[in-house]
């Protein structure tokens, strides 16, 4: 199932959140093995004519009959299957990304394979009734909200005589952060904020024995789980990252993305200033994602 021969010469439908595969979205042609099968049936037919053998003639016709039936069976493998978008996680440009999907089927189905056009194949050995989550690998070259290339689903089951495929353009875009690349970044000193319990930077799950003063009671009152506030270390130097002067903006974004990623992993506190967007120094996953999204979309 890894190497398919069907070329995606049919354009997918307009982007949509889900697609139920049917007669209008599935295409089918004989596979290379199917062509060999027909040739073998032809040879048997010739042998049967020359020798007058009934058994050979019947076998040749049975092979032809199987070929015809295989067309319907292969089509049935995909028909009625629903492909649905899931919420994709952001990822860096030019790095492997996973595009999540849900396959919904009312019955068990034999093997099929999916891929984002031009990217790696994911094989589903057997689809069980119900919903099956799936992640398709791909990578994006450009930053921003990106739609992956069309998704292609195909199968040759059960006999391998036909290739049946469908193409779908999911409408859910995936946020692609700028490519990570080391390089110069301007570091600005932020105005010093006063310390205190109000200037917390992030939230984390409450640990046992946590001081009640650190608990974010306001959000707990709104029905969210108990979380503790994370404060800046007053001793820790804050820094605001900005594009280095003299560096083209796109390259600067890539340098900033790399620096933000590394600062996040080192636990540092950082802010971002790029074009009209300014994010105050902070730390945590939410802050990192906000910074990277700003880099990707502004």
């Amino acid at each position: 199932m890894v190497h398919r021969t069907a070329k995606p010469f049919f354009k997918p439908s307009r982007p949509c959140a889900e697609l139920t595969l049917g007669h209008r979205s599935l295409y089918i042609i004989p596979s290379r093995f199917g062509a060999l099968w027909i040739a073998a049936a032809g040879v048997l037919l010739l042998v049967a004519i020359q020798t007058g053998s009934n058994s050979t003639l019947l076998l040749a016709f049975v092979m032809l009959g199987l070929m015809v039936l295989a067309m319907f069976l292969t089509h049935d493998t995909l028909q009625g299957l629903t492909l649905r978008c899931d919420q994709p996680a952001p990822t860096f440009a030019a790095e492997p990304a996973d595009y999540p999907l849900q396959l919904e089927s009312s019955s068990a189905r034999p093997r099929c394979s999916l891929r984002v056009q031009g990217h790696g194949v994911v094989v589903c050995d057997r689809l069980t009734p119900g919903t099956t989550p799936l992640s398709l690998p791909w990578f994006a070259e450009n930053r921003g909200w990106q739609l992956p290339p069309p998704v292609q689903i195909e199968t040759i089951a059960p006999l391998g005589l036909f290739i049946c495929w469908g193409r779908w353009q999911p409408e859910q875009p995936q946020l692609i952060w700028p490519r990570r690349q080391q390089g110069p970044v301007a570091e600005l000193q932020p105005p010093r904020l006063r310390d205190g319990l109000e200037e917390w930077q992030d939230l984390r799950p409450v640990r046992e024995g946590e001081r009640p003063a650190l608990v974010d009671w306001a959000s707990a009152a709104r029905g969210r789980p108990l979380q503790a506030k994370v404060f800046n270390d007053p001793e820790e130097p804050d820094v605001i990252l900005a594009p280095a002067s003299g560096v083209p903006l796109e390259a600067a974004r890539e340098h900033l993305a790399d620096r933000i990623w590394r600062l996040h992993h080192s636990g540092a506190c950082y802010g971002l200033q790029i074009q009209s967007i300014s994010l105050a120094p902070s730390k945590g996953v939410r802050h990192r994602d906000a910074c990277l999204e700003a880099l990707a979309t502004v």
């Binding site: 058994s55 009959g65 009312s106 119900g130 391998g160």
Partner: protein, 592 residues
Amino acid sequence: MSHQRHASSLAWWALVPLGLQCIALNGSAPLTWPTWALVLCALFKLRECRRPFDRRLVALLQLLSTGLLAAQLQGLWASVLQLVAVLLALAGLLGHELAGALTFRGFLQRSLQLLAAALPLALVLFLFVPRLPPLWTTELGPSRGAVSGLSPDLDPLSIAELTLVDGSAARVLVPEGQTLPMDAYWRVLVHEQFDGRRWQHRDPPVPRSGSGRPQVGEGASQWWVVEPSATRAVPWDGSALPTSPDQWITPEGELLVGAASRQRRSFRLQSNQRVAAWQQRPPVPSERQAPPESLPRLKALARQFRRLPTGRERLEAVENWFRRQSFRYSLQPGAVKDLDAFLFDQQEGFCGHYASALAALMRAADVPARVVSGYQGGHVVQPISGNRYLELRQSDAHAWVEVWLKGEGWQRVDPTLWATTTTMGLPAAAVAAESGQRQEGNVPWWRWLQWQWWGLDLAWTRWWLSFDQSSQQAWLQMLFGAQLRWLGATVVVSGFVAVAGGWLLLRMGIRPRSPLVQSLRLLTRLGAVPLQGESFLRLCRRAAQMHPDRATLLEAMADQQQLLAHAPLTSAQRRHHLRQWRKIRSRLRRRR
């Protein structure tokens, strides 16, 4: 991985019936080598295959070799093995794509379902699509090879001791009510070229397109199964008519069939009461050629007969001369120098000696003559499974003479019957018909079993293999009469119906029957698709929220499902709950 092992073991098992049939092939037949090559290719490919495409290719090679084997081995046993090979090859093919979904037995069942689904279309094509005659005529039979039976060269003088081989030569079945001729002469080869010692058979030219005119008439059918032999000619009664274009009768009166001679041949003939054309064909020069001068005594004797005016009188005179001599029938005549020695000194031999001597004597007496070899007599077998049939064995092989009598055509004369006594004092005629007198009471068990199997084999031949081009024409004629132009439309319409039937059959067969799967399908139709990790009970409750009017039924279905899946039930209780579950399911369906 276990599913790969399943697929692989199915493919290996498919090689067993193929290998068994390969052993039975004759190495000198042209189709044999391609068949062996294909089976070996499948074997090595299966051993070395790494990619799924290779595995599928193995299945295709197996099917192709089965087809070639079917063209060469058409008996019942071979057909059973071919069916098994096709089933296993298909199961192996399914195994690659339905990986892990089925067990070994499941693959075989699915393979059987596939075959059953493809069969309607195959039968429509098989029955309705007009058969083509062979596109070109080839000598598919080998020219050499060691197969017992009649030989194109008849040289009885070189045989000091004739051993009777008891192998089967042919079997013939006639419709119920027809009499099996036990004393008939079944002609095979005509030997018309005589060099003073040997009688040689001249290979007739192979017609480009067979007889071209298969007979569709009133006569009763004869179904023949002829074992492999060294000759292309097959036994027949000399008057029956061919029924397919690949059968033709030579001007000498030999029946040739298109199939290779080194394989078992099955064919149908049509009985005919009229005089055959070959009987009236005037003799060719080779049939008049006088014996060489190396036989002075024979020629001197023949000069006496030449004085008589007609061929009939000369024949009667020769018969009288034979009967006056003390000829003895013997299977161990010892070496005979030449025909002079046989006729005037030893006067002891078997049918070949008598036929050879009479034919030479008649030619020397200026009466065209030739030697015919074939079978005489036969043995009637009554199998448990069906109609009586006549079995001809190699030991029934016989030689006789045909002489040309003006106004009468070619007439059969059996000089072996003129021998007065055997070396053991038995009447010669009794020895000549020795094979027809076997006693059923002394039959060994294995022979009895063989007869029964051959009975089934003949029935198979009669009902399946005999559906040839002429049978198909007769059947289409009977079905359509003058409306044969509707045949194309009939093939198309029946083809569509057959495909639809096969597809439905497959869908019904593939559909899982477990209550859980059926319930899930029903719930999906109601819009409740199971979520990841959702239990059946929760799913039913969710469906009940979506369809409050069916909440009770959905709850009940969940209960029954739980019981069927998890409760330790007796068979009766299980049946009861299954009934309950079916009732609920049908009520849910009705309310949709």
